[in-house]
């Protein structure tokens, strides 16, 4: 089974230091160390487990800046076999439409049974790219997976798609695009051996011209959206600390909620 996983380097959320560049309001990628987007790690973990169970290997695809190989090596160290990075100055400032087109183009020529993506990114948080990639590639789209069960003999795959009240069991033909969530399981830590091995794994870098993105415009110059302004929201008021016996504390909280007209 061959699985392609879409992975995006994002600023480490644990740093708490993400910011936008004040001149053009683009993400300041230099401000904070990059990590593999958490939801993409869940996708990668699920892919690795599937190849362990069914054989085959995992290939990464990313569209990102020139520093991305460093982050992608972390995903290779987890166990992916190889990767493709599309990086090009013209792609800086790409929007959802461009990203979707370029990723679809980068995946189009690959051979795979499953294409996995994360539910959303911690920097953009759009959660719309995977559905778009599936639409452009004409792939069955199975989103918000809590469980993935391929049936290689039948050429189908089943997914438990999370809903507010439980889940729906989806079944589609392979190749298919599946959106991964944390419910698929904790990502593994790279082993020392994995880290060593990752150094020599194939990570192919492609420029925009190397992927067949077609005639549709892509890249920063074609962006359909612009940020006009970014401000820090007003700071929250100082915390009121209640240190009283439970009954008195509860009375004060209820009075506070009533004062704020919440109850």
């Amino acid at each position: 089974m061959r699985i392609v996983v879409l992975v995006k380097p994002v600023p480490d959320t644990a740093s708490g230091g993400e910011r936008l560049r004040p001149d053009d309001w683009r993400l300041d990628r230099a401000a904070v160390p990059a990590v593999v987007n958490a939801n993409d790690e869940y996708a990668l973990e699920a892919a690795l487990k599937l190849t362990e169970a069914h054989g085959g290997e995992v290939h990464l695809v990313s569209m990102a800046g020139p520093a991305a190989p460093e982050t992608m090596r972390k995903a290779l160290a987890m166990g992916a076999a190889s990767g493709t990075l599309v990086t090009d100055d013209a792609l800086a400032g790409s929007d959802v439409v461009s990203t979707t087109r370029v990723l679809a183009a980068a995946v189009r020529d690959l051979e795979y049974d499953l294409l996995l993506a994360g539910a959303d990114t911690s920097d953009g948080g759009a959660g719309v790219v995977p559905a778009g990639v599936a639409a452009l590639l004409g792939l069955p789209y199975l989103s918000y997976a809590a469980k993935i069960e391929p049936n290689p003999d039948a050429g189908t795959v089943r997914v438990n798609r999370i809903t507010p009240t439980g889940y729906e069991v989806l079944e589609g033909p392979m190749p298919a695009l599946i959106v991964a969530t944390q419910a698929l399981g904790e990502p593994r830590y790279p082993s020392l051996k994995g880290i060593m091995a990752a150094r020599s794994k194939s990570l192919e870098t492609k420029a925009l011209a190397d992927v067949a993105a077609g005639d549709a415009p892509v890249g920063g110059a074609a962006a359909t959206t612009t940020v006009l302004d970014a401000t820090a929201p007003p700071p929250r008021a100082a915390t009121r600390v209640i240190r009283e016996p439970a009954d008195e504390a509860a009375r004060q909280v209820v009075a506070f909620l009533a004062e704020r007209r919440i109850i």
């Binding site: 719309v128 639409a135 507010p164 359909t224 970014a230 820090a232 509860a250 919440i262």
Partner: protein, 325 residues
Amino acid sequence: MAGEIWVHGEVTADGSLANISTEVATIARTLAEAAGAAVVGVVVAADPAAAASELARFLPRVLAVSEPAAADHAAGAIVGQRLAALIERDQPAWLLTGAGPDGRDVAGVVSALSGWGVLVNAVGVAWDQGPVVTMSVFGGKLTTTSRFATEHGIVTVRPNAIEAAPAVQAGSVEPTTVDGELTLPKVRVVDRVAEAGAAAPIEEARIIVAGGRGVGGPDGFKVVEELAEALGGAVGATRAAVDAGWIPYAQQIGQTGKIVKPALYLALGISGAIQHKVGMQTAETIVAVNRDPDSPIAEFADVVVIGDLFEVAPALLAALRTRAG
């Protein structure tokens, strides 16, 4: 006249209109007034009638597209294709939908098929010759304002961005057919399984009572549930509680769970780790119960009770019940 503003009416498993769509419709109606544009709802479902007439309480005109394939197939790709075809036919300028899983699936498909840009996770939308969209990014650390560089686009709207308000006069529902094959492969729904979860998406709740590791176990969640019920709210959780198997993942709040903005967030036994904080710090009011005065949540909550939640939560429940009489 300015281009039409369309609202994607999301349909729940039982065929009714998703709450989020009433809020999206309310925003769209306000924008349409400011723009002097027409506003139209679109519902695509196996049986769109119920959801369409519900949406017509909020909008003057609703297109109801019957799509038999949606009965037993994953909806996102099907609804997205039909919407894209209708957009091609009627040439509206803007499409608004919810920022939850169903809205995102549809937005992604329509964006790709129509080449329309997407502004995501709106917490407010104003009008200035086009939608001007306010978003809360990096877990609430920044508020951005964005617009489209083109004459059309898609906006996904977060729950609780506005209070839904029906129109003074209900609109009309027009059954509509869309010609053409569904070209994207269909994904069969083999089964629908109900688990103990919220009746509505947690993002829509006005009040959330959330439990963390401090709750101690599935039994500990009883008092969380009771408090949620007494407050008319929903139950949320941290990843620690979800990973422990005490509560379904659908209730998880945070970076790799749901982003919520309720009027009240009551946190019991939650430390307030950054990955949790980014999912809830834009709540209007945050009240925490934690026995550790140095826990991070004690720094950003509006009120923190320092104490044992197994004493404070029952006392809160009693005080709320006394007040309710």
